[in-house]
Symmetry: C2
Subunit: 213 residues, 2 copies
Amino acid sequence: MPRPTKQDPERGDARTRLLEAARDVIRTKGFAATTVSDLCDSAGVTSGAFFHNFKSKEALGAAAADYWAETTSEFFRSAPYHAHKDPLDRVLGYIDFRGAIIDGDLAEFTCLVGTMAQEVYRTYPGIRDACAASILGHAATLETDIAEAMSARNLQADWTPASLALHTQAVLQGAFILAKATGDREVALDSVNHLRRYVELLFQAAPSRCEAR
Amino acid sequence: MPRPTKQDPERGDARTRLLEAARDVIRTKGFAATTVSDLCDSAGVTSGAFFHNFKSKEALGAAAADYWAETTSEFFRSAPYHAHKDPLDRVLGYIDFRGAIIDGDLAEFTCLVGTMAQEVYRTYPGIRDACAASILGHAATLETDIAEAMSARNLQADWTPASLALHTQAVLQGAFILAKATGDREVALDSVNHLRRYVELLFQAAPSRCEAR
DNA sequence: ACATACATACCGACTGATTGGTATTTATTT
DNA sequence: AAATAAATACCAATCAGTCGGTATGTATGT
């Protein structure tokens, strides 16, 4: 049923163009500072088309989070790090991959749903929940590799695969904040390197191989 | 020169009350969604008083970041973890302290300048720089303890005290985002625990005591 | 094949409410 | 009295959202 718009028909239907505009504009200006007409201008669409496709600005925000979850999960599913045989190499490969894509403009490599969640966690619960689902869903894709790496090495730990998976996301989100504050993506890369070192230490410091203290 | 306002004179002068209002309101709604009259209402002050004290909303944002830097640095300076003799215990004590104050409402323990930096990094450079100064200044207070802990243990590392100090801030900022997205502060505490474990591993895995791989 | 009918996608001028900011007046301090 | 702080009244601009209308695709009947 979607149909190309009159303006710039080659860019596709209005809904997708608005979701792509949301992804790009909200990452640079934030959700609240992004106006509906900012989005319409960026998408090359009228405000009539906006409110035809989304019943409110909040609905657009939630849909943009869902769209982000879909597109990024496809992106990571086809990433090369899954090819490693050793599950630990897959986990480390994921971290290296996250470091490798910290490149170009800040608004291109930072996380839409992290940005939105921080901003609207209290004001738009619908958007917040969609952001949480995106983050938690992505973290869940790491859990099996972490669990397999643990059992392959017989690692007994006082932390769970889920908590380590979430921790990787926390480090990445925090790294993005530091990069935005300083305007320097190197500080983000430094944090990702610390995260990699942490995972290495976790799996090499198994009590059976090297006792502590 | 400041003078108590007519409304609620016992609460002090208008400027301080507006800065406190900014600290509280912006942490719950974000900077862009916070209106000048939100701040005036919360401070019990008229908009005339607002623009007498701050030449614009942006100036208020930057002043709020400075105020945050002042008050938090005083807060951490008087915290108990500085008493430890071993510098590593001071670093770990800092992390434990950060975990201990993750309590109560989300808007009470999350970071004003992290929130603002993420939101306005491109739109209000003045605010962003004030936020960066606050974060970097706070991280710098950890550097000497980290450096002393390294030299006390003769630790040769491929990371610097500055990068580890910044990494602690990245983890905390990211933990706040996860807590906001999920509405659960436990996930933030989990990340802080991972950070603590990382620092422990860094200082017990010195090559001289236990070789890697 | 062609006309009619209907639903959907999009358009764009418009609105009521709210925004950040200003100008003027009043109160307080020194 | 001079200067500063706060209160009040106000404004132009912008906001999210509405609404009547048009363009397009599809189903049906002949």
